[in-house]
Subunit: 272 residues, 2 copies
């Protein structure tokens, strides 16, 4: 079964998309055809969005699902006229919050991904540049300024995780690859030793690692299952001997890896 | 006025945080003290979360606000006993969706940031590595494979935007800095000419750019207002003459810049 879905917002669409996707993931027997329509912030755009929805309803022969985080009352009213099953996020919650907080909401558009305090923006950009400058062991002299140093074998997920954590949480994060040389020594590289408390290890199932490496360097020794097994076994023995927290990234999304690391290291999210 | 807020989830907490933050941003006269408690997936954790909330209620002298995306009925029941004003996201919407879709929800934990289809994961990681490999004009030989090539003067926001778009949308994005040399020539660098349709320009207010550069290289010519003004003026004249879409990043968040570029370039989000 298929069903069309629209995530509609007067801002970026991120809230509608995140919430909607989360709700719909509860119904996995249906295939949802999802589309985001952001920046619906005028009556004209609202009207043309209604046209798009109605056209889809006609083609599908069933009304689409709309997840709508539009704040403006007038624009919400226009959307109500669409032939859709509509989840109105502000209708559901803002009234309740107004009662609890005993004040009126600002009723202004898309504030959550819109306001920029310059200091907040600056610290986020700093975190991103820190992650990039300290990616893949490129530099090690700033490790004293890192909140976390991710370690793991090549292609265990260090770089995407680092970047996500920097972008979303403003965490200063470096990552260091455990190379074959490091692993042959069977102990923690000396450059990491002073920072043991900041270390977090990633591991991954050998079969999955071999598949990822195979894509990158087909038919290399680097991509053989045997090589992957050996590297991972050694990395794990280092984590265990040195009492380094670690996580298996095989079946986790980047979001899950990142939020679990944060929780396990007891770090607070700096940006929400 | 201050008010404590908890974003509580059996998964990453991202949905609760995103939705909650979006709702609360409508009440800007109140200072919210926000905390995310992810992975509340057992009765014990739910119970200890209740203890944390109640303790906060006692300290604050007023009940905290809880935004809760927990799926499991039993765990939600435990949370209900907390002294809190609770927005129950699944209660509000899942029943409605069940009626509309005429099936029961799966009632399983945190699926939206949890499921990994390996192909989806792979294409996301590919996009991140593409963005990193093609950052800051490092390489130009893969521009034929890029969906977008971001251009702009140094520190106009290209790198964080590229990374965000790769991570969140799976877009293949390169970025190229308009250097002083490029700008002196007053025309599009020849390496970019074959890809004019993929180009997207960033601009930024000279004062803001000077402040950002001042932090990076204090008291350099690079950071003077005069230099910033001149570079930006020239970049803008190139964008205009070459009919390149562009955006002023000064007052926009990374999320806004990214979603606006996507919309302006008519590209679909590959991942939700």
């Amino acid at each position: 079964m298929r069903r069309s879905v629209f995530f509609i917002s007067d801002g970026t669409g991120i809230t509608a998309e995140t919430l909607g996707h989360s709700l719909l993931s509860q119904f996995d027997s249906i295939e949802f055809d999802e589309q985001t329509i952001p920046y619906v912030d005028t009556a004209e755009k609202a009207q043309s969005t209604v046209t798009v929805i109605n056209e889809r309803a006609r083609l599908d022969g069933i009304r689409p699902i709309v997840v709508d985080t539009i704040v403006n009352q007038e624009l919400r009213q226009i959307l109500k006229s669409a032939q859709a099953f509509r989840l109105d996020v502000f209708d559901a919650f803002v009234g309740l919050l107004e009662q609890e907080l005993t004040i009126h909401s600002a009723n202004t558009v898309g504030k959550s991904h819109g306001i920029i305090s310059e200091s907040n923006y600056g610290s986020r950009i700093d975190a991103v540049h820190f992650a990039l400058d300290n990616d893949d062991g490129a530099r090690t002299r700033h490790y004293d300024k890192a909140d976390i140093i991710l370690i793991g074998v090549s292609r265990s997920g260090k770089t995407p995780t680092s970047i996500y954590m920097a972008l979303q949480f403003g965490i200063h994060i470096a990552n260091y690859p455990l190379t074959e040389e490091d692993l042959n020594d069977l102990c923690l590289p000396s450059v990491l030793k002073p920072f043991k408390k900041k270390l977090f290890g990633l591991t991954i199932e050998p079969h999955r690692l071999a598949a990822i490496r195979q894509q990158r360097k087909p038919d290399s020794r680097y991509a053989t299952l045997r090589q992957c097994e050996q590297e991972i076994r050694t990395a794990l023995s280092i984590y265990n001997r040195e009492s380094i927290c670690y996580l298996d990234s095989t079946h986790l999304s980047i979001e899950e890896i990142s939020t679990r690391i944060l929780a396990m290291m007891g770090l607070k999210r700096r940006l929400v």
